[in-house]
């Protein structure tokens, strides 16, 4: 008797705290059902797999963005860091002929380094993340464009191509990478000091500081992690299109922010869960795919995606205000 009561209480709290994510999940299911009826191609194994593949890059970037936003920040430089790491890697691997694995490693280092620099400035000079990453957005892309002199690189080695296009037991490699990223992110947020501090800083920076947390260290780590995921995305994109360019990734940061928002993470920080972001990225992927299948023009697609973002967050806000 006592036990069932306790259990009910626990469940209640589960629903209470994950309401947003649960409704996003339900929305995703409903969306899939509707698309299954509207198009005959949607609910086929091949298409579903391709939805996952198409969503993988945005999911990965959104995971990093989730950390940033939970900590009370924002990262507008995501797309540019993707471009920086992919373009330099491509050039080094194809034109200079370095080992592709070394190339990938360099891409990751570039991602982490640019993130870390931004984190350092945010933490030490105490400039709002919005400004620092806005600057970063043009700086990183500028460096990328300058480095490759605006030209593209084609024909990458097989190892890279496999990462973009290969699969394991039918699951595309980028999807596998995304799954690993999400497991790691969940682990970091839930099971490590770093994750707890991320929430604490976003929830109340003063209290966090007075608890002896080194805000600067955590912030630098957060932006570095976000940068690392940009590097990973840069590698995956290169493999997928079998080419690299300094102009990829424009606007990726906005998609990532959108996924985080749809996933129920509070834009003012301190609150959010990683699985919500995954759902948000999937919702965006499914909608894009569905609209493509229905041959809706890209212009309309933009409008619809915009409405979905504002709509999703509004429904959540309205429900919360009612309470």
């Amino acid at each position: 008797m006592e036990n069932t009561k306790l259990l009910k209480l626990k469940n209640n709290r589960f629903f209470e705290s994950y309401k947003t994510q649960i409704s996003t999940f339900i929305a995703l299911i409903i969306l899939c059902i509707i698309l299954t009826f509207l198009t005959d191609k949607f609910f086929t194994g091949k298409n579903l797999i391709s939805v996952l593949r198409q969503s993988s890059i945005n999911s990965i970037l959104a995971a990093g963005m989730t950390f940033v936003i939970i900590s009370g920040g924002i990262d507008l430089s995501v797309g540019a860091i993707v471009a920086l790491s992919t373009a330099i890697m491509g050039d080094l691997v194809v034109n200079t002929g370095i080992n592709p694995f070394l190339g990938m490693f360099i891409a990751l280092v570039l991602g982490v380094a640019s993130g870390a620099i931004q984190g350092l400035i945010i933490a030490k000079v105490k400039i709002p993340p919005f400004i620092v990453t806005l600057g970063g957005m043009t700086i990183w892309r500028g460096i990328a464009l300058e480095y490759v002199d605006g030209s593209n690189v084609y024909g990458l080695p097989d190892q890279l191509k496999w990462l973009g296009g290969g699969d394991v037991f039918g699951l595309p490699a980028p999807v596998l990478v995304a799954m690993l990223v999400y497991l790691a992110s969940w682990f970091l947020l839930k099971k490590t000091k770093f994750g707890t501090y991320t929430y604490a800083i976003g929830g109340n920076e003063v209290a966090a500081r007075l608890s002896g947390i080194s805000i600067a260290k955590v912030q630098i780590l957060i932006y570095s992690f976000c940068g690392l995921l940009c590097g990973i995305s840069g590698i995956l994109i290169a493999g997928r299109i079998n080419a690299t360019s300094a102009v990829v990734g424009t606007g990726y940061e906005l998609d990532a922010i959108a996924a985080v928002a749809i996933g129920g993470t509070s834009m003012s920080g301190g609150k959010g869960i990683i699985w919500g972001t995954l759902l948000g990225a999937l919702v965006m992927g499914v909608i894009r795919n569905g609209l493509n299948l229905m041959r809706v023009s890209p212009y309309y697609q933009q409008i619809i995606i915009g409405i979905v973002i504002v709509g999703a967050v509004s429904i959540d806000a309205i429900r919360r205000n009612k309470k």
């Binding site: 099971k191 000091k193 929430y199 007075l210 608890s211 002896g212 947390i213």
Partner: protein, 504 residues
């Protein structure tokens, strides 16, 4: 609606069988309550008894799950705080709700800015703000930024804001918690003035001495339940009886102080100074000692303890811990030197409101429950459970968000956090602000236990009875320096107040 004439003594507000449930908590269970014009009605109860919830249902911030509410004899459904204002109900909440970067007049008129020819009528705003401030006997300039005001003045602005709406009912949730003795007396004058005009005042406080001065009737709540409403005689309340009603048992000793023979010196401060305020502060602290620091708000007590802890490092001077000179320039370094600081402002500095209780408790000591970067969940949970049990934090679950706790229970979480740290030098800045008598006794016993275990405690307090009863020694501060040190057996309220005023 036609205005009824209301006479002093008429019932202007009534709650019948009101129940309010939150997930997992019944905050109010079948409550009866009424308020008469021209009376001060005190709500009394332990932390989490439901006092704040009761007034939030009065102001429409919460809607009752069941029950009826009547204003001037008519049944009403209070939709939201704006509706409550229209009904003449104004409130000053436990946590202030002013916008720091707007001026006083803008705050007083927030949301109901007067318009003239389509633009805001600044002139009227300022004039009217002056009027309401006059009503509360305050001469704050309506055009100064709220941010630049002290807490006491901010509270006057809050009251003025509530009165601006022509409130017939004024609710004050623990207004005295942030005020000095002098300011409290002024507040009481304001309340008396309003009561004479027929305003009904609902007053919440944990300080029985205040209730003694101000109350006409007292309604006691316990665990969300209505216990009793008693009429009290001014300056002659039966403290023990009220406490018994409140906690359900007799409390025999309000200040259970045990004497501990002090051990070795653990902390010495020499000539600590800051450009802003502190001037050549020197003192020493022994293991097992409880050192009280008294003084007025603004005397630099908080600055001093923050300097020792590293939150706002001093510009010059020495800090010696266990005979070794140390540099403490960040809270982290403070914690490494086994110093803990429970800050006075729990909302802004003490807690992350939107995080769970267990995370807040472990926040400053995650290293202790982690292997490298990884949190050991078992240890994490057991520390949280241990601490919350020791301090009797009232909550259905440790996964509850701190913002859903009552004020006093939040304070207990702050203390839990610093106990979890196993600090050897524990600095408590206003440790019992806003916590109920029962919990106060618990905190005092805890301080005793810690002292017995050889920990050294610095307690900053504005509550003289507490300072006098619990300290082994008292330092009094005035304008950034120590104006006197009082030895045990040598203190009295008058002596402390004199030193605090810089008159000795």
């Amino acid at each position: 609606m036609k205005e009824k004439t209301v006479n002093i003594g008429d019932v202007i507000f009534e709650m019948e069988n009101v129940t309010k449930k939150f997930p997992g908590v019944v905050a109010l269970d079948n409550i009866q309550f009424n308020l008469k014009a021209g009376e001060v009605h005190v709500l009394l109860g332990e932390n989490g008894a439901g006092k704040s919830t009761l007034i939030k249902t009065m102001t429409g911030a919460h809607k009752p799950t069941e029950g009826t509410i009547k204003v001037n004899g008519e049944v009403v459904h209070i939709e939201d705080p704006i509706h409550a204002q229209e009904l003449g109900i104004g409130a000053v909440y436990q946590e202030f709700n002013l916008v720091p970067f707007l001026d006083v007049a803008q705050n007083v008129f927030l949301g109901k800015e007067p318009k003239k020819n389509g633009v805001i009528d600044r002139e009227y705003m300022i004039k009217r703000t002056k009027e309401v401030l006059n009503m509360v006997g305050s001469d704050i300039d309506p055009t100064v930024m709220v941010e630049s005001l002290g807490v006491a003045s901010q509270q006057m602005v809050e009251i003025a804001k509530a009165l601006n709406a022509d409130s017939k009912i004024l609710i004050l949730d623990e207004p005295s918690a942030v005020l000095t003795e002098k300011e409290i007396n002024k507040l009481f004058e304001v309340i008396e003035r309003l009561v004479k005009k027929g305003v009904g005042v609902v007053y919440i406080s944990h300080r029985l001495e205040e209730i003694n001065v101000i109350a006409d009737r007292v309604t006691v709540l316990r665990d969300g339940q209505y216990i009793e409403t008693v009429k009290v005689e001014k300056n002659n309340i039966d403290k023990n009886e009220l406490v018994r009603l409140m906690v359900g048992r007799q409390l025999d000793d309000f200040f259970p102080k045990h004497d501990v023979v002090p051990g070795e010196e653990i902390l010495r401060v020499e000539n600590l100074s800051t450009h802003k305020l502190l001037k050549n502060i020197s003192f020493s602290l022994k293991q097992g000692e409880i050192l009280g620091i008294g003084g007025l708000v603004g005397a630099g007590r908080t600055e001093l303890v923050k300097a020792i802890f590293g939150a706002e490092p001093a510009d010059s001077g020495k800090i010696v811990v266990k005979g070794k000179e140390v540099t403490i320039r960040t809270p982290k370094e403070g914690i490494l030197n086994r110093i803990g600081l429970a800050p006075e402002d729990r909302k802004l500095e003490g807690l992350v409101q939107i995080l769970e209780i267990d995370k807040n408790i472990n926040m400053a000591s995650l290293d202790k429950v982690s292997n490298g970067p990884f949190i050991n969940e078992q240890k994490f949970n057991s520390v949280a459970a241990d601490m919350s049990e020791k301090l009797k934090v009232k909550t259905p679950s440790l996964k509850q968000l701190v913002c859903n706790l009552s004020g006093g229970n939040q304070q207990k979480v702050v203390l839990s956090k610093w106990l979890a740290c196993e600090s050897e030098i524990l600095i408590l800045d206003e440790p019992t602000r806003g916590i109920d008598v029962g919990a106060k006794v618990e905190v005092y016993s805890l301080m005793n236990d810690l002292a017995k275990a050889g920990k050294a405690i610095i307690m900053v307090s504005s509550e003289l009875p507490e300072l006098i009863a619990m300290s082994d020694r008292i330092l009094v501060m005035h304008e950034g320096s120590i104006s006197g040190e009082l030895k045990k057996g040598d203190y009295s309220q008058e002596k402390i107040l004199k030193l605090a005023a810089g008159e000795a």
